[in-house]
């Protein structure tokens, strides 16, 4: 009995102590430190989307370090960026409380995140109400359509990616496609885009298959879509399912160069997972993924190349998700510089009229366009000799 007694007392002590230190902590940070601009990040550091979240976090830390080397000139002061990164566990409810806590407790000037569409959606009314600008890395067009005053995003919208693929299909004379999509908001957005294009008579969607984000074998799905004899198969999935799709299609002797992936398919992880089966596959992504091949003839291309080189050197490999978060932070910083103010409402005003060449591509925000990256920044990459390279479809 006495053990229980002590454990109960111990637990009570821990709780009291934690509340106590919490108080102390608040007092110490009480004085407003005006030499810093606080920017929040609401990321998927655990849960199903943790692979993305990890890349976002690395990119943000790298960009933060770069910015703080010189600092940002605001008025007559040089300020540094303080990043408050919090985990939303890939859970929309958690993302909602993270957003509220960033706004109410950390008094952030702007938020980077969330990193996926479902975690972004519940944040939107919060940011709108608090009048804090946020830049999401979610791909769903619903984030910025209809336009909400304080909500922006970096990845290409689903319809923009659809357009890029349609142009590639025109070049390759592809008329009939089949879609393999993961059964979550990301895959659903992709599938809906192709269903809409099919309805509009622009392409013939002969069949589609949804699969769960925990599936470990896609042979059945691959058998089904290849049986419909499409000219090409479009895959809307992230690793490791994107790699499993490549393997399964290869087993059905479906040629790699007739398989098209969305940006989410992943860079190194995809190639690693799919192995030889990935050879020849196409993916719509920013040029940055073929960083080694970029000839830096324009400042925009130079930015992309630099980011690729720096990130790869620092973390020993590249992630296609990294530039999206890097740009989100850089866009906020660019808006602060442009408006000469770190006030959330001023940041919003500057963002809304900002043109910016980022690591992922070029952004031309306007009151009617809050993202993502412009169509001209996206290209069609191809796996050649086990790495993503620029293709003839770009």
């Amino acid at each position: 009995m006495s053990t229980r007694h002590w454990v109960a007392a111990g637990l009570a002590a821990v709780v009291t102590l934690s509340v106590g230190t919490g108080c102390a902590k608040e007092q110490s940070s009480g004085g407003d430190d005006s030499s810093q601009i606080v920017i929040g990040a609401d990321l998927e550091l655990s849960g199903p989307a943790a692979v993305q979240g990890e890349a976002y976090q690395r990119a943000l830390k790298m960009v933060q370090a770069d910015i703080n080397k010189t600092g940002i000139k605001v008025g007559d002061k040089t300020k540094k960026v303080k990043l408050v990164i919090r985990d939303n566990k890939s859970d929309p409810a958690e993302s909602l409380t993270v957003a509220k806590s960033l706004i109410n407790n950390d008094h952030v000037a702007a938020i980077v995140g969330a990193g996926a569409s479902p975690t972004t959606m519940p944040m939107i009314p919060v940011a709108e109400k608090a009048k804090i600008p946020m830049i999401s890395m979610g791909s769903s067009g619903a984030i910025v359509n209809p336009v909400q005053k304080y909500v922006f995003k970096t990845p290409g919208n689903t319809d923009v990616i659809g357009n890029v693929m349609m142009k590639a299909f025109a070049k390759k004379k592809i008329k009939k496609i089949a879609v393999l999509s993961v059964d979550n908001p990301y895959g659903e957005a992709g599938l809906k885009e192709w269903q809409a294009l099919d309805k509009a008579g622009k392409i013939d969607l002969v069949t589609n298959q949804k699969f769960s984000d925990s599936v470990k074998d896609l042979s059945v799905q691959a058998t089904k879509v290849t049986a419909a004899k499409p000219d090409a198969v479009v895959v809307w999935a992230i690793p490791p399912q994107s790699g499993l799709a490549a393997k399964a299609l290869r087993q059905k002797k479906f040629p790699g160069d007739k398989v098209y992936y969305d940006t989410g398919a992943g860079s190194e992880l995809f190639v690693k997972g799919a192995g030889a089966a990935s050879e020849g596959s196409y993916m719509v992504h920013s040029r940055v993924l073929a960083g080694n091949e970029i000839t830096a003839t324009t400042p925009a291309a130079q930015t992309e190349k630099n980011f690729f080189t720096e990130y790869s050197a620092k973390y020993g490999g590249f992630s296609g998700f990294a530039p999206m978060a890097a740009d989100a932070l850089n866009l906020i910083v660019a808006a602060i510089k442009k408006g000469g103010s770190a006030d959330p409402q001023d940041i919003q005003k500057s963002l809304e009229n900002l043109s910016y060449d980022g690591a992922f591509g070029t952004y031309q925000f306007s009151p009617t366009n809050h993202g993502g990256v412009s169509e001209s920044s996206l290209t069609v990459l191809q796996v050649k000799n086990g790495t993503w390279s620029l293709s003839d479809l770009g």
């Binding site: 009995m1 053990t3 229980r4 007694h5 454990v7 109960a8 637990l11 009570a12 709780v15 934690s18 509340v19 919490g22 108080c23 902590k25 608040e26 940070s29 550091l45 655990s46 849960g47 943790a50 990890e54 976090q57 830390k61 990164i85 919090r86 985990d87 566990k89 859970d91 929309p92 409810a93 909602l96 409380t97 993270v98 509220k100 806590s101 109410n104 407790n105 569409s117 479902p118 959606m121 519940p122 009314p125 769903s140 619903a142 059964d183 979550n184 908001p185 895959g187 659903e188 957005a189 769960s212």
Partner: protein, 355 residues
Amino acid sequence: MAATDTAPAEAPGGLLDRVDANRLLRPLVRVGLPAVLLLIALLLIPFVFTRVAPYTMSDGVLLVLLATASLGLVPLTGYAGQVSLGQAAFYGTGAYTTAILTVRYHQSPLLGILVGLVVAGLLAWLLGLALFRAAGHYLTLATIAVGLVLAVVVKQFDLTGGAEGISGLPALSLGGLEFSDDVSFFYLAAGVLVVASLVVQRVCRSQLGTTLLAISDSPIAAQSAGVDPAPQKRFAFVLAAVVSALAGSLYALWSSFVDVNTLDLNLSLQLLIIATVGGRRSVYGATVGAFVIVSLARFAKEWLPAVSSHAGGQVEIIAYGLALILVLRLLPRGIVGAIAASLKRLVTPTAKASE
């Protein structure tokens, strides 16, 4: 509250049952005092959570919603010994029903909540009919399966918003009062929690609670005494479902967004951990457990990034798991049960002998 007299001496919250108090006052003290303490604790939350650093008022709202959702596990798991890992299925059913009625059919949020309760209750009753014909731990597996099946099903229909879920729920307003900000919503949800706690406690202290305990401690003896356990367990199951759905509906209206995560197995796990850590046999355990879990989450978020750069949520998950294991091994009655036992010893030293 006459039923309290028939409750076993070791009933939860029975801090003072050995004090030689006036028989008429005793039930009042036994039920009233902890309830007043709960009320005071809840009323303190807005003052603490808006001032103490890592907490926010949304944590406060989440705390009372999670506590409400796990309340039903007191009769079901604490008394009847049935481990349910499907509470989220009913939480999600409430959330989705409210979302569909308010967003798709433009009905009032209040109607959305009420229909949500009915739908979740019916679902639990039907499942209970099928599942409680025999006893055993199959309920755990069955409740998981229900949640997983529902989570797949809601992703397939436009009515439920597919994989994207339903957003744009209206704010809850009652009699001209709008509960759109966290503080006002907190008071509403806290009120719901107090009422729900008292209702669940009333059920636990009734003959039903005694029967459930007897069934759980010794199923075969109960059966040979002519007690058919199925209807009693089914009642506990339906009650747990309805209370959970209430929390789910409120969550939907608070966050104005519902998706498949409201049905998730992780949420069911969290609710089970809350009930167990707080104390499975006391309705006040739910609130204490929710406070511990929300605090763990918040402090883990605040401090862990400083310790390890690449593990926020995971370390927090380890903490949940460890909390569950430690409490089960060291404090089988949970925090509230342990505190109650200590207090009981303080009040009446003679009670020691019976422990």
